[in-house]
């Protein structure tokens, strides 16, 4: 006699206790599995819409999400430990492997933090080249986000459009430094490569060609009824919640907080450019989409201005070949495509950093997931993970 039959035979209506479940008496509310109120569902780590190896444990009531728990660390490589065993220059390529869709930004933040320790001033031409590449990288990062986010929600076409146009940016990177994804484009003290012949023209050509394409993306999505229904009012974050949770970047701005490190604490030569910080009204997934789209337009504006003003001159500050920053601690952060990317570096005066701490925007933003998805449906979790724009390489480091 099987366990099930055993249970069934002994079960009496209304009776409870270990091993006694009355599967047939549907009137007894809390004893049948059909009325089971809580279900735990494992999403990931190998799930296409978690953008890497993220595992989310969902507690569900039917299709409604009661709570989540993120399990992360599958991509942990100990980047901060590696840093303590490399010289300052040797660690530079490693930072590209954190947020690998925005490698240029990572490199910029690290180089600037070390330059601050060294008290080195980067020459203007290098600053302009850095800004151009970083803004192109912002566009590329947002394109990957848009393509995959739309794909998660069910729109297949934007993925192809975005990756098609991103190719142009990667081609510029490749011509500039030989690498497409993990570029290692900058060095501590400036840039190591001079802009290649035709760099300016390539950038301007991209800018001209890209704006109509951006309109094309919008044509596909902005007024698309399915897109609007799937994103409007989904995953709302209030501004005060954003600040309490430390959320930064487009997610913060979509909640109506007009804060961007490029304006608030300008680094490089950002104070010389004319651009706007787009903000949203409702802090929902749809607003975050609009904010990022507008950020791409603003990035194009910055690239145009930087290319037109690109000064002549050296591209490398006079930093020693062997870098030995004086004893001290520095925290420096930049506005990466995903939010505030900070580096806290402690120097003990030796060749190797004593401690490098990376403050990754994805890691902190991902913490808001639980707040955003409570009370939504399972399908919305996918939309919210997409809208947070996380890269697990950066979350886990």
């Amino acid at each position: 006699m099987s366990d099930f039959e055993n249970d069934y035979r002994h079960a009496k209506p209304g009776q409870s206790g270990p091993g006694v479940v009355d599967y047939l008496d549907l009137d007894t509310k809390d004893q049948t599995f059909l009325d089971a109120t809580e279900l735990v569902l494992n999403m990931g780590p190998q799930h296409p819409s978690t953008h890497g190896v993220l595992r989310v444990i969902l507690k569900l009531d039917g299709e409604k999400v009661l709570g989540t728990e993120c399990v992360i660390g599958y991509l942990h490589r100990g980047v901060e430990k590696i840093a303590e065993n490399r010289t300052y220059a040797m660690f530079n390529p490693y930072v590209d492997r954190m947020d690998y869709v925005a490698a240029v930004s990572n490199g910029l933040g690290y180089c600037e933090a070390v330059e601050k320790l060294l008290n080195a001033e980067v020459p203007p031409r290098a600053q302009y080249i850095r800004v151009i590449l970083t803004e192109l990288c912002r566009i590329a990062s947002h394109q990957v986000w848009l393509g995959t986010h739309a794909l998660d929600i069910g729109a297949l076409t934007p993925l192809f459009y975005c990756f098609r146009d991103r190719e142009e940016i990667l081609r510029i990177f490749e011509k500039y430094c030989g690498a497409r994804l993990t570029t290692h484009a900058f060095r501590i003290g400036g840039c190591i490569y001079e802009a290649y012949d035709g760099f300016e023209q390539d950038c301007l050509k991209f800018c001209d060609a890209f704006l109509p394409k951006l309109d094309e993306y919008e044509e596909l999505l902005t007024t698309n009824r399915i897109w609007v229904r799937r994103t409007k009012g989904v995953g709302i974050l209030k501004p005060e919640d954003c600040i309490a949770l430390g959320v930064t970047g487009p997610v913060l701005r979509a909640s109506g907080v007009k804060w961007d490190l490029r304006k608030a604490q300008p680094y490089e030569c950002y104070s010389k450019f004319d651009f706007e910080i787009p903000t949203g009204l409702n802090g929902d997934t749809y607003d975050r989409y609009l904010v990022r789209i507008e950020e791409m337009r603003q990035a194009v504006r910055i690239v145009r201005q930087a290319v037109e003003d690109l000064p002549q001159g050296p591209i490398m500050a006079k930093v020693p070949k062997v870098l030995k920053p004086p004893v001290g601690e520095v925290y420096h952060s930049i506005e990466a495509p995903k939010g505030e990317l900070g580096y806290f570096i402690v120097s003990d005066g030796s060749l190797q950093p004593y401690r490098v701490r990376v403050r990754p925007p994805s890691f902190v933003n991902l913490q808001a997931l639980d707040k955003m998805v409570r009370g939504l449906l399972v399908a919305d979790v996918v939309a919210v993970i997409g809208t947070l724009d996380i890269v697990l390489g950066e979350v886990d480091r």
Binding site: G73, H76, G78, E80, K81, I82, N85, K116, L117, L118, N119, E121, T222, K238, P239, I243, A244, L245, G246, G256, V257, K258, W259, D260, K263, A264, Q265, P266, S271, K272, D274, E276, P278, T279, G280, L281, E294, R297, V300, R301, Q305, E308, A317, K318, P320, P326, V327, G328, V330, Y331, G342, F344, Y354, R355, R357, R359, F363, V364, Q367, D396
Partner: protein
């Protein structure tokens, strides 16, 4: 067009989400970002360029004047001449005097061990027993409403082996301050989760990497490493080739590559 040029200078005062209602209202007052104007922005760029460049110094000066209290923003001390390798003049921490510091010192006395700036970045070193109070005060009274980061540094030769560092930012003042405290191995700090929910994962990471405990943390467990991993990798006495061999064999079923 005047709006355009006005924009950069007005940014620093504007964010002030300390008054959240204002922020929302402010956003409401702005044109919705999908509105047509942005179409004109992008096409207009070449035309408005000269005007923008002309207005730049003024705007920059404005921005400087608007926040003289934020040296971290722009002030890279202009000393390119002193750079050549042989004898770089090492910047020294300088005492940081401000209303905030004197207020805190008046209240906590020797609890505030140091208040300095280094390359324009402010930091406080405080006693570990009052760090929670200081953080709470910084948020409520001084409007440092955003906890950027919590991290630690290990100095095995010191008696108080760990520095625990809280990086704070104030949207209101557009300033950063680092609050630093020193604790011995085995000592714990009161968790800041009650002040900022964002401290949750950040403190878990510090616990994971350094083994520093935080009292009253809602769920203090490892975050990046597996829960049954042995050792805390970012301690200086954890060698780079070290691994939890047993864990690797039991869970992955391979001999460790190291």
């Amino acid at each position: 067009m005047p709006e355009e040029t006005k924009e950069p200078s007005s940014v620093s005062p504007e964010p002030s989400p300390a008054t959240k209602v204002d922020a929302a209202a402010d956003a409401a007052a702005k044109p919705e970002i999908t509105e047509p104007p942005r179409q004109t922005q992008s096409t207009e760029v070449p035309a408005e360029k000269p005007a923008a460049t002309g207005a730049k110094p003024a705007a920059a000066a404005d921005a400087d004047a608007a926040k003289p209290a934020a040296p971290a923003a722009v002030a890279k001390p202009a000393a390119p001449a002193a750079k050549p390798a042989p004898k770089p003049e090492a910047p020294k921490p300088e005492p940081w005097d401000s209303e905030l510091v004197s207020k805190l010192k008046a209240q906590y006395g020797s609890g505030i061990k140091e208040a300095s700036t280094y390359v324009g970045q402010r930091y406080l070193v405080v006693d570990s027993s009052i760090v929670y109070e200081i953080l709470l005060r910084m948020r409520d009274d001084e409007l440092f409403d955003y906890l950027v980061d919590v991290t630690a540094v290990h100095y095995p030769k010191r008696e108080a082996q760990f520095d625990v560092i809280y990086v704070l930012y104030s949207f209101h003042h557009n300033q950063r301050v680092r609050v630093k405290t020193q604790i011995k191995d085995g000592e714990t700090l009161r968790s800041a989760v009650a002040i900022w929910p964002t401290a949750n994962w950040l403190e878990r990471e510090v616990f994971d990497m350094y083994g520093i405990g935080f009292d009253e943390h809602p769920e203090l467990k490892r975050i990046l490493l597996p829960e049954d991993w042995k050792g805390h990798p970012l301690r200086k006495d954890y060698p780079i080739l070290c691994q939890d061999q047993e864990w690797v064999q039991a869970n992955i079923g391979i001999e460790s590559g190291q």
